[in-house]
């Protein structure tokens, strides 16, 4: 069994004008695909060949000698998750149970949005900002490079990619504008709600 690039959940131009087809063509078609190709090469002929993505991540996380494996495997997982965090016509305020949990955890949607944006802007270098469920409570975090919230301690609900490749063609140095647009126009709250389980 080899790892495969999962299909995008929408057309490459479906998120325009907020996230361009050109950005997705590189981000999905080159970066995400390269992680898949690299991981297949790295596991070939090793005892990890045939294991699931989650198993490869668990077997390599926190081990500097297996950084290549972890980086590529985790980036496959992160990107697959990220694509699902967006949808055409998305963004703005959630409703239902997730909305109520956000109010309880952060006080208001506005406070959540401000904290999420601050985490995304404050991640120096390449990485990700996350909304996670930790011990039953919502929490905002950020991770460097390929790192990700690790279950069972933390359960990912929502992420935004703040590697520069995620937004540079559309927003250049203006990461805050990208994250604000992600909040206002792109978040797939149905997916976030589904991740609550």
């Amino acid at each position: 069994m080899t790892f495969e690039l999962p299909a995008l959940p929408y057309a490459e131009n479906a998120l325009e004008p907020y996230y361009s087809a050109r950005t997705i063509s590189f981000h999905y078609g080159k970066h995400h695909k390269a992680y898949v190709d690299n991981l297949n090469k790295l596991v070939a002929g090793t005892d990890l060949e045939g294991k699931s993505l989650e198993e490869v991540i668990a077997a390599s996380a926190g081990n500097p000698a297996k950084a290549g494996l972890f980086n590529n495997a985790a980036q496959i997982w992160n990107h697959t998750f990220f694509w699902q965090c967006m949808k055409p016509g998305g963004g703005s305020r959630p409703t239902g149970r997730i909305a109520q949990m956000i109010d309880e955890a952060f006080g208001s949607y506005e406070a959540f949005a401000a904290q999420f944006k601050a985490a995304a802007i404050g991640r120096f270098g390449s990485g990700w900002a996350w909304l996670v469920l930790e011990n039953g409570k919502l929490k905002i975090t950020s991770t460097p490079n390929a790192e990700m919230p690790v279950p069972p301690g933390q359960h990912a609900l929502l992420t935004v990619d703040v590697w520069e490749h995620a937004y540079y063609l559309d927003y250049q140095n203006r990461r805050p504008d990208f994250v604000q647009t992600f909040l206002d126009k792109l978040i797939n709250w149905d997916f976030v709600a589904k991740n609550l389980g």
């Binding site: 080159k30 270098g125 540079y168 140095n173």
Partner: protein, 203 residues
Amino acid sequence: MAFELAPLPYAFAALEPYIDAKTMEIHHDKHHATYITNLNTALANSADLQGKSVEDLVKNLSSLPDAVRTAVRNNGGGHLNHSIFWQQLTPGGSQPSGALLDALNSTFGSLDTLKDQFNKAGLGRFGSGWAWLVVDGSGKLAVVSTANQDNPITDGASPILGVDVWEHAYYLNYQNRRADYLKAIWNVINWNDVSARFAAAVK
């Protein structure tokens, strides 16, 4: 006195086609400028640190107060690294010569081997960072890479050549093709600047 952004020593378009004008403009006027703004903000309440050079601050990170150390590491590093980087590029490029070329040949075997090792270091830097040719603590030439805006002087080495491999350094022109950017940049390296840093480091 606050840190200030020096003008680029050449026009934005001067390094084309290897580095495009739009990349140079945003990289210098936005990214580098933001590091300086953030560094000044971080040191706003530290009058004693404002008078130091940025090299001094980054070299002695461990002696800085906890409250400003990370901000200086990131933004002081960003200011220092970019200040070096602009000097290391020149329209039309150049070739190494003299004592530096002798040292490169004796350490790496050839200039091409150095370039291969350097490009490998840049390509292998996962995430954001820099590739460097340094004179290490024992006076020897070595190729290293650092994460984010870390500079080798923090570890006691003297950087003599640095290439930015943050995606913002090349994404508009090269997108995911960092290898192509690294290959192209040798066409605009200012070896006079590298030589001067080498001479100062081995003195």
